[in-house]
């Protein structure tokens, strides 16, 4: 009997652990260190970290955060290898590109997405992130269903990597509400070392 009870508890515990491991989002606040991506940022209170890329069981690339759901707002901090194929444009990054070219490639990739309509660039200007020269882009677009989204994106090249810090939200209400939070997070961004 006792053995059975112990067995059930172990099974229940295992199940809870398993479910926790599979949770698509976990509450994440404070300093987040991504050793593999070689950066750290401070996540504000009340934000959740996505543990799976949308529609998959895979962990997402880099850090993906949201407060009310990815469709409403998301912060994404990732780094991608310069030689990686982009999703929509066939243009490529190159370690020798100046920031305005890197910004233009980011925009071209987004413009080449067949699900992006009425893209309007509100700002395309130089910016620094953790002391690195890069760019700041602000743009809006419409989805196929007429849903308007707004994105602010910082980026810079470092060695063989392109770092991207992106905040995207529904253009109405959500974007303005969480913009200050994103700015704080961006200011907290630090590279752990000089990446290879």
């Amino acid at each position: 009997m006792t053995r059975n009870r112990h067995g059930s508890r172990a099974l229940l515990g295992g199940l809870i652990l398993l479910l926790a491991g599979c949770a698509p989002f976990v509450l994440a606040s404070g300093k987040q260190t991504l050793t593999q991506s070689e950066f750290e940022v401070t996540v504000p209170e009340g934000w959740y970290r996505a543990m799976r890329a949308p529609g998959t069981l895979e962990a997402p690339e880099g850090l993906v955060l949201t407060r009310d759901g990815l469709a409403l707002q998301q912060i994404r901090v990732v780094r991608v290898p310069v030689d990686k194929d982009l999703k929509f444009t066939k243009r490529k990054f190159d370690p020798k590109l100046p920031p305005h070219d890197v910004a233009e490639i980011e925009l071209d990739d987004h413009r080449s997405n067949p699900d992006v309509f009425n893209l309007t660039v509100e700002e395309n200007a130089p910016a620094t992130v953790d002391g690195r020269r890069g760019f700041r882009l602000v743009y809006t677009w419409q989805t196929k269903d007429g849903y308007r989204l707004k994105r602010i994106q910082y980026g810079f090249l470092e060695g063989k990597w392109v770092y991207q810090l992106t905040y995207q939200a529904a253009a109405r209400f959500y974007f303005d509400r969480d913009l200050a939070t994103f700015d704080k997070l961006r200011e907290s961004f630090r590279l752990l070392s000089k990446p290879a």
Partner: protein, 398 residues
Amino acid sequence: MREIRRRFPWLLAASLMAAGCATTALPPAGKDPGKLALEEDEGRLWNRAQEEQEQLRRARVEYHDPALRTYLNSVAQRVLPDEARQAGLSVDVHVIKNPSLNAFIYPNGVMYVHTGLLARMENEAQLATLLGHEMTHATHRHLARQFRDIQNKTAFMATLSVAGMPFGAWGMLASVLGQLGTIASVYGYSQDLEREADQEGFQLMVRAGYDPREAPKLFVHLKQWVEEEKKPEPFFFNTHPRLVDRIESYEEILRREGGALARGGPLRIGEEVFLVHTRRLLLDNALLDLQGGRFLQAQRGLEKFVALNPEDAPGHYFLAESYRRQNDPRLHPEAIRLYEGAIALDSAYADPYRGLGTLYYQAGQPSQAAQALERYLELAPTAPDRGYIQGLLEEVRK
């Protein structure tokens, strides 16, 4: 409205099924006297077509060049058969800003042609071939016939699917029925209907006075483009086997009927008039290719543009960009030559200096980079990218 749109495929499919095995032998518009009388299911297709056209309008994907649209519609009017006009069917051609090789028509005669397809054509006779082919899909009521054919073949399976797996085969059929544009532009029609469009379209372009030898050339030309494209697009005219079908079909028709049909009067090719009207489009479409990193396509489009407009400095500049943006130092000399060509044509044109400065920066030649970037800022003191260029200048001066 959204609710209606969501339910439309189900309603349409249900009504098609309720109709049982409907005939697919609908006569072409104008064959029977009087105005075209739409059958019930066909009327729903027309309504759906209007909704999809409204969606396209709202998405603002159209390319705006009123003179070009007037020209395209004048060619369409030449090709449209009198019988169809008398039956009340008109054709309205729109252009979509997209570098893919694509064109499609809705059953109500509203046609969309991508800039990519127009940019690859050589003359008006080739345009007339495409318009004739597409408008036959509308005049011969191909969409309604295709739907009835699908329904006849799948009614039994669909009935089973509804009971057993609501999101299975039935769901797939429903989703297909909700995407008329996708059917027309991606899947195309059955082989028989496509052949009919080839045959009738060929006769239309020849009757309108165009040189029949240009008909297969259009598809031969498109096939060459598709073969050069490493990552093919999904559209009908972007699909190699479909293009091979068209070439074979048009060559066969040309052998059989070309001579007889083309008898009497000079044959029209209309190269110059076509190139005049598509000149701006050629450049704009090449810029879309450039943005998508389709450098070979961009280069071919820009070379065509520069050949037609040898004095146009932006044409030379963008051609130079198509070389520089490939990040390949072996292409730098050609890019420099083209930037310098643009400057020689217009010494007050700032952009080639930015291109040169960026190229020298990439090549690790800071003094040449500084010289070109300084000149850029002199010529364009209020350029929106001034901040970037100043940052770059600070770096190369260090």
